[in-house]
Symmetry: C2
Subunit: 305 residues, 2 copies
């Protein structure tokens, strides 16, 4: 099973010669979820061999350009590629109106169905629920409405105890029931408890994305216990005042969220161009939460498994 | 003196792993002119060490995304960099309205003055006239209004014949007059013809940009005799029907314009992603106009001089 994250951009608003604006690709069992889409995302997708056709869902945290400017060109590229598969885009208002106006301005007729889902609200919400993964949005605190996203793998089926299949002469249908955690009830009243023929499934895997946001106490409750937390760390301790003023986080803030939430690993990103090296940010975060790493363009992180 | 062109992008609408959308930087005596601004232009500017602060004029051929999507992020980056110098952008309508709406949508207050000049009309027009260069727009033929740009160096001052300065005891003021091509008239009526103390200046240099456009007879008259002609060559002979249908040019069309206009050199660009190599396009163009080269990202072409 795949549950892995590829980082396409780690810069904040000002890209540098080696950092692109925010874009993440989460691969859940070969279905790709694009999270934020700054300028140049499609070039980064080509560079890091992300398969365009496997993306059917795009999640936008907020409508600042460094998280959004890549959307228009990507929509256009999909059109030129002859895309037919519906595409879903999740973003705060007024994304839907903006995109509609943009398509009109540039006289673009999409050859595929684009559905813009408005992300809103002051609490955690399930916004996508499919067979393998459930996606939640939760509010962040930034200068404009901004949302984090939590991707939680659905509980997989239980594992069969191989010998039991023969012992009980289980049919395909009965195996399916047991793996779903349902007791098998045969004609004549015989009951085979699922617990006798299956083992607990492996643990589910989860990933949370938090950018852009200032620190606030409640944030950790949204991302409790996730396997990998990505959290913006625009600044270091030396610019904490600026972080508070601009509603961004320091690396230490990010680590505090990770610590309070009891996550397994923390990934920092959205670095201000003033930090040519991220060593300082990693170091400050690790004082609070040792399992911290600074994200880098093109690196793929295996989550759980 | 500098009069040189750096190519930042050679792709048509669909970028590839090694081709970016259209953007050219023309350096005229260390003043930079940006021509078209597709997605990722600012990253390419960083990569190829173009000095952001030296650009005060941006020329947009037409409002298709692959020539324009880099404008919004660049305006934003200038703002973040604390730009104060006024910026001039030349583009067909409705660029001004679109940019105004964009800035409102993203709640961006520019800290510098942005003037959007609307390029229009069915004939050649002088749109910028400064001390060193004059810029002209001329209409192309594409699916939407599209304009080419001609950059023509102004005639430089005449060169002094060094010995004549002493011989006639010329003052600074008199030298200035003679270099401008004016006879020196002294008190008492003595006339020193400028022709006696100066030599003809070197030839002026010119560059013309034509993209996107289908072929039309009159185009060559707009770019007569330029030192370097950049002309789109989206397709080869094998896709001439598609070129006609989409109002693009083949490499042979571009070469025909170069030939008819009697230019010195032709640079091809705006290549369809279907041509992984540009050898075919170069070859087809050279059959008509031998002094042809396919543009490449990051290459700087010295013009004239």
């Amino acid at each position: 099973m795949a549950f892995r994250l590829t980082i396409l951009g780690t810069s904040s608003a000002l890209p540098t010669s080696d950092r692109y604006p925010t874009a993440h690709v989460l691969n859940v069992h070969e279905r790709l979820f694009l999270i934020d889409c700054g300028e140049g995302t499609q070039m980064q997708m080509r560079r890091w061999k992300i398969r365009f056709g496997k993306i059917n869902h795009i999640f936008i945290s907020h409508l600042h350009g460094d998280h959004f400017f890549g959307v228009y060109p990507l929509l256009s590229t999909y059109n030129l590629m002859g895309r037919k598969t519906p595409l879903h885009l999740y973003a705060p208002a007024p994304a839907e109106a903006m995109i509609a106006r943009h398509l009109a301005d540039f006289d673009i007729n999409l050859g595929y169905e684009l559905t813009v889902h408005t992300v809103a609200g002051r609490s955690m919400k399930s916004i996508l629920d499919d067979r393998r993964v459930e996606v939640f949005s939760f509010p962040l605190k930034h200068r404009i409405p901004s949302y984090g996203y939590l991707f939680r793998e659905k509980t997989p089926d239980r594992n069969m105890i191989r010998e039991k299949i023969e012992e009980f002469g289980l049919t395909v249908e009965e195996i399916g029931m047991a793996r779903k955690g349902k007791d098998i009830i045969r004609e004549g009243g015989e009951i085979i408890p699922f617990i006798d023929v299956t083992l607990v499934p492996r643990q589910t895997v989860s990933y949370a994305f938090c950018s852009d946001t200032g620190w606030f106490r409640k944030l950790s409750s949204y991302v409790t216990g996730v396997d990998l937390l990505y959290h913006e760390a625009t600044f270091g301790d030396d610019n904490e005042a600026l972080a508070l003023k601009t509603r961004h986080s320091t690396a230490r803030h990010a680590a505090t969220v990770a610590h309070d939430a009891g996550v397994k690993r923390l990934l920092l990103g959205h670095f201000s161009a003033r930090y040519r090296s991220t060593a300082q940010l990693e170091e400050e975060a690790r004082q609070v939460f040792p399992e911290t790493e600074a994200a880098r363009e093109g690196i793929t992180y295996e989550i759980g498994g």
